[in-house]
Amino acid sequence: MDCRHPRWAAAGFCFLVFVISVGRVFAQSALTAPSDLQVIDTPNDGGESLTVLWAPGPSDNPDARYEVLFGAASATDPAALKAIAEFPANTRYVKDAKTAWWTRKAEGTWHQYVIRNGKGVEMKNGTAYTVTVAMRKGEGRAVGPLLQATPSPNWFNWNQFNNLILALGFGGLVFYTISHAKRNNIFLRRIPGLDAVDEAIGRATELGKPILYLTGAHDMGDPSTIAAAVILGRVAKRTAAYETELMVPHREPITMAVCQEITKQAYLEAGKPDLFKEDSNFFITSDQFSYTAAVDGIMLRKKPAANFFMGSYFAESLLLTETGASTGAIQIAGTDSDHQLPFFVTTCDYTLIGEELYAASAYLSKEPIQIGTLRGQDIGKAVILSVILIGTVLATVGVATGGSWPQLFLDFFKDLK
């Protein structure tokens, strides 16, 4: 180096350093197109959807934006594609999507965008489309490769695989406990409300007054109505044996038809078929308050000594039970309508709460099928309790340690579609 002009040399050197630095800065902020871009048919859906995946990039910050471009399969130039979505470059990650870890197609840190029909997009199953992703920052734009994919419907939603396993597992458990109950004696806790059933029927017989039995507001598709119908069978058998009048007003014609058969069979089994009356089960109306007014009228006129309220109820519950209480009848209720429980508990002598109603049919019949089902349900509840406990601990550990591995367990018990 010629040191005869040191000032000029120093300036030149500084200028060179400056140029290199600026060049570096520009090189750093030079846009990179999305890498490892993939476009696939969205899995686990009914079709007409594509999923775009790409790896995280060095420019993933709030200043930059990703743009999803979509068009016909014949498009070969990005200019022919339409921008259907735009979002900040530090959003839309695989880990944020509400899908199960076992169905993810890429790492949690990758970007994911699901293209669906609507808002300018119209896809048909079996037809290919061209998709790409571009990165924009200011005036700059870097477009990824153009890729083709074809949406198609799937036959199984793997996101619900955990749901299927748990449902089948519970079903299997119930059938196992039923077969276990057939071979062994299973202890069943005494439910005070059910012990009172005999007492109530006996009281009605002594007083020479009828028994009123209601099966609730829902139709035969509801478990509570089925449980009510099963208990009716047992009650009808007792009333047949004691020769007490039984009145069963209905809100649903199909329930009435089923209960009629059940009552007839009960009288047959009690050896009193001649005492069976066709109109012991009668239809009033489907309308809530018309039915309530009619039943209240029956209570006030006929003054039954025992009232049974089994099944699902709504606002009419208090109207029925308070009227029944005013006539001095003994009242036994059983419902899974938790919003009516306070009214039943305050106005009835005994109340079967929630699944105690389902347990009632098992308790009365002593059938292994019913008892086995109860045991299966109890085990199911124990499993849920354990999962809640373990899940709480794991979630806390996950938050405390910052690890994502507890999610592997927690996701299995989540509702993911």
């Binding site: 478990p223 119908a229 199909i254 899974d336 305050t346």
Partner: protein, 216 residues
């Protein structure tokens, strides 16, 4: 005969039960189409069930009128009401108003059904008070806790309560959002497990009481 009364309904129940349980896990459009068709059938059958109910109602009250049993006059009133409403509805084509004018059907709806239903629902307010007076006694520790919680929520849910004791609003919100929600969830879980178990039993023919009659 046994096949028609027992085996066939059980077979239909099993096939359709498994089919629609499986349908939930299949996102394919043909699965959705199956569901749509089934729901249409449900709507049609629901209409038939109504006919069954009305026929039963007519028959039951006709017997009462013919035999002149106690209260047969009310059965006559029921008949008259049903026929008049049916006729009014048919004439008005089921509409409560036509071209801004109230139809006969609309008159029956607005001046009979609406006030009568409202009256029945309003009785609840009085019955709640009398039931509460009769039963809300601190007979035990649990009853006392229930009583205190009830009073706090009753106060917290009305402006006067929040005005007198501002904390009652927040406490009642906490009771509803935390205590109530968790307990309701527990009851819901129990009831849902019962419903799932019952559904499995019905689908696989283990539970047959819905068919009527006893064991065979």
């Amino acid at each position: 005969m046994i096949f028609l009364r027992r085996q066939l309904p059980l077979l239909i129940t099993m096939i359709t039960g498994l089919l629609f349980a499986g349908q939930y896990y299949v996102p394919h459009p043909s699965s959705e189409l199956l569901l749509t068709s089934a729901t249409k059938w449900l709507q049609i059958i629901g209409g038939f069930a109504l006919v069954l109910g009305i026929t039963s109602l007519f028959h039951q009250h006709a017997v009462k009128i013919r035999r002149q049993e106690a209260g047969w006059g009310y059965s006559l009133v029921l008949y008259a009401g049903m026929l008049v409403t049916l006729a009014a509805g048919a004439l008005a084509k089921g509409k409560e108003s036509l071209d801004g004018a109230m139809t006969g059907f609309g008159w029956v709806y607005s001046f009979m059904l609406v006030p009568l239903q409202g009256t029945m629902f309003a009785i609840l307010a009085f019955f709640i008070a009398s039931a509460a007076y009769r039963s809300f006694r601190a007979r035990s520790r649990e009853a006392a806790v229930l009583l205190v919680a009830a009073v706090i929520v009753m106060m917290g849910r009305v402006p006067l309560g929040e005005y007198l004791i501002p904390l009652s609003g927040d406490v009642s919100q906490w009771i509803l959002n935390v205590l109530n929600a968790s307990v309701r969830r527990a009851i819901l879980i129990g009831v849902s497990l019962g419903a799932i178990a019952l559904s499995f039993k019905i689908i696989f023919g283990v539970e047959r009481s819905y068919l009527g009659g006893g064991k065979e």
